[in-house]
Symmetry: C2
Subunit: 308 residues, 2 copies
C-alpha cells in the first residue's frame, strides 16, 4: 500500500436536510466529503475541492481528524455550495428544495503537485470537461473511476463520451445508466457503456444494492437490511469511497478483490445512513466495517447441494 494514493475531486457542501426523523442545517456534506470520510477508514484520502469564505473551519477539522489530506481544498471568497432537500416518509424519494452553487459554480480543480502521483483517482460528479482536465493533471493512475449525473448526460454528452474513453470504471445510479444508454434494462445499459471505453460499470441501485458489470461477469451486492435508516444522504458517495479505498488499500484489481471492494463499499453505504449526514462515518472504526462485511456474507451466502 502506498499511503495517500487515493485522490477524490468533487463537491464540498453545506447540507440542510429534513427526514421524518429530524433535520440538519448547514451540516458538513458534499460528494467528496462522504467519499473521503468513508474511504479514510481504509486508506489515506486526498481531496481536491472548493469552499467559500463562510465554510466553518470545524467542518474541515472533522475531515482532517480522520486523516483526510485537505491540501487540495481551496477557500475562495464567496458563498459555499449549499444544498437543501426533504425526504419522503419512507425515505425512498427526495425533493431538492434549493441548490446554491456559490463558489462551486466556478470550480477549476487544481491538483497539488504532491497529489499528482495518485494511483487511485475518483472523479466526483462535476462537468465532464473538468473531469478530463483532472486526468491531464494526474501522472499515471492505476485506476480511474468516475461519477456523473443526468444534467451532464443531457447537456454535455459528447464530452462525457470522450471521458468514458479515458476511465476504467463508470459509477452511476440506475436512472443515469438508463438515460446515458437509452435502454431501460440496466444490464443492457451497462453493456452499452462498456462498449464506450470503461473496463467496468458500477450501477448503484439505492435500497436495492449495487451491480458490478464487466464484459464477462456480473456481481450483485445487496443493500443491507436496516430496520432504521435515518438519512440516505451521501450513501452512494460513501459506497464509492469504501469501494475505491478498499482497492487502494489492497492494490489488487483481480475480480475476487473487486467483489470484496463492492461489499466494503456497500458496508460503508449502509453505515452512513444510520445517522444524519456524516455523523456515523465520523466515528466509524475499521473493526465495525469488517463486522458489517461479515454480516453481508451471512446475508447472502448459500451452499450448493450435491446436485447442482
Amino acid at each position: 500500500m502506498v499511503p495517500g494514493s487515493l485522490l477524490v475531486v468533487g463537491s464540498i457542501a453545506l447540507d440542510s436536510v429534513s427526514t421524518p426523523f429530524g433535520e440538519t442545517a448547514d451540516a458538513l456534506g458534499g460528494a467528496a466529503v462522504f467519499f473521503s470520510m468513508a474511504g479514510a477508514v481504509l486508506c489515506p484520502v486526498q481531496v481536491v475541492g472548493v469552499v467559500g469564505s463562510d465554510f466553518p473551519e470545524e467542518h474541515l477539522k472533522k475531515l482532517a481528524s480522520r486523516g483526510v489530506d485537505l491540501a487540495g481544498v481551496e477557500r475562495q471568497r464567496g458563498e459555499s455550495f449549499r444544498w437543501k432537500a426533504r425526504y419522503s416518509y419512507d425515505l425512498n424519494s427526495r425533493e431538492t428544495l434549493e441548490t446554491r452553487l456559490g463558489v462551486f459554480a466556478q470550480f477549476q480543480p487544481r491538483i497539488p503537485e504532491k497529489f499528482r502521483d495518485a494511483r487511485y483517482v475518483f472523479l466526483g460528479n462535476i462537468d465532464p470537461e473538468l473531469q478530463l482536465n483532472v486526468l491531464d493533471q494526474v501522472k499515471q493512475p492505476k485506476l480511474v473511476a468516475c461519477d456523473t449525473m443526468n444534467y451532464w448526460i443531457q447537456g454535455k454528452k459528447d464530452l462525457l463520451l470522450e471521458l468514458l474513453r479515458h476511465i476504467d470504471i463508470l459509477m452511476v445510479n440506475d436512472s443515469e445508466a438508463r438515460e446515458l444508454s437509452g435502454d431501460w434494462n440496466v444490464y443492457r445499459a451497462a453493456h452499452w457503456i462498456l462498449g464506450r471505453g470503461p473496463k467496468m460499470v458500477v450501477i448503484k441501485q439505492g435500497e436495492h444494492g449495487a451491480l458490478l458489470v464487466d464484459p464477462e461477469t456480473t456481481f450483485k451486492a445487496p443493500a443491507y437490511p436496516l430496520q432504521e435508516v435515518f438519512d440516505p444522504t451521501g450513501a452512494g458517495d460513501a459506497f464509492a469511497g469504501g469501494f475505491m479505498a478498499y482497492l487502494a488499500r489492497t492494490g489488487d484489481l483481480a475480480f475476487p478483490n473487486l467483489r470484496r471492494a463492492m461489499i466494503y463499499g456497500s458496508a460503508m453505504g449502509s453505515l452512513a445512513v444510520e445517522a444524519f449526514g456524516t455523523q456515523r462515518l465520523e466515528q466509524i472504526t475499521l473493526q465495525e466495517v469488517h463486522g458489517r462485511v461479515k454480516a453481508f456474507r451471512d446475508l447472502i451466502h448459500f451452499s450448493l447441494d450435491g446436485e447442482a
Copy 2:
C-alpha cells in the same frame, strides 16, 4: 422423499397478456399452474383447483405431461377464470384490464382423500376462510406456506390473522407485507408478521429478488440479471413452486437448506420470465435449473479477505 407429498391449492386460469414483445390470448395461467409447473421439475405436485366447461383439455394435458397430479381439479359448468393484463414498456408495472372469476368465484376446495397426507402444503391466494378450510382437510403437514393479497388484507384481516397462527411461512410481496403490518420498512414488516404466528416470512420483491426472514436471521436472494424478459406473469408463483418443491424434494428444513430453496425458487422465477406464460416452464429440465442455481452463486458470492 415421499413422491406426491407437495400439494397446492389455487387458481387455474386463462390469461390474456400483452407485453412490449407480444401477446397471448386465453393461455394457460393461474397461480396453481405456475406453481405446479415449476415445482414438478423437482418433485411430484398435486393440484386442487377448479376450471369451467370451456377450459381446453390440452392445457390440462400440459400439466399432466409434466407429472402434475390433477385429481383435485374439478371441472364445473360455467366460464373459467379469465385474467387480462397489459405490461408497461419496461415490464415494471402492469394494468389489469379485466378479471372474470367465473367458476372460481364459488371455488370450494375439496382435497381428494389421496392428497390429504401431503407433507408440504401451499395455500395459494384465495379467501383466507377457504385457506383455513383446506388446513382442516389435510392430516399432518410438515410445512404449510401461504400467499395472500391486498384484497384479503383489507376485507378479511381477522380471518387472515387467524390463518397466520396456523401456518409456517407467509409468502407475500413487499407491498402486501407493508399493508398487512402498517409499516413501510419491509424488515420491520416481516418481524411484525413473525409476531403473529409464522416461523418464517418470505417477501417477494419482483425484479429485486426475495427475502427470507426468521426471528434470528435474514437471507437475501437477488433476482437474476436477465437482458431479456418477455413476460413477468407467474414469476412469483414459479418462485413459490421452486421453493416448496425443493424443500419437499430434500425433506430438510434446516436454515442452510431453506437458503438453497430460496435460490431454487429464484432460479424458477428467472426461467419463467424468459418466455410467455408457461412456455419456458413446460420445457425446463432439472439440469437447466441446477445450472441457473450455480449462476446465482457466481452472481453473489465473494470471499472474505484475511482482515474481516
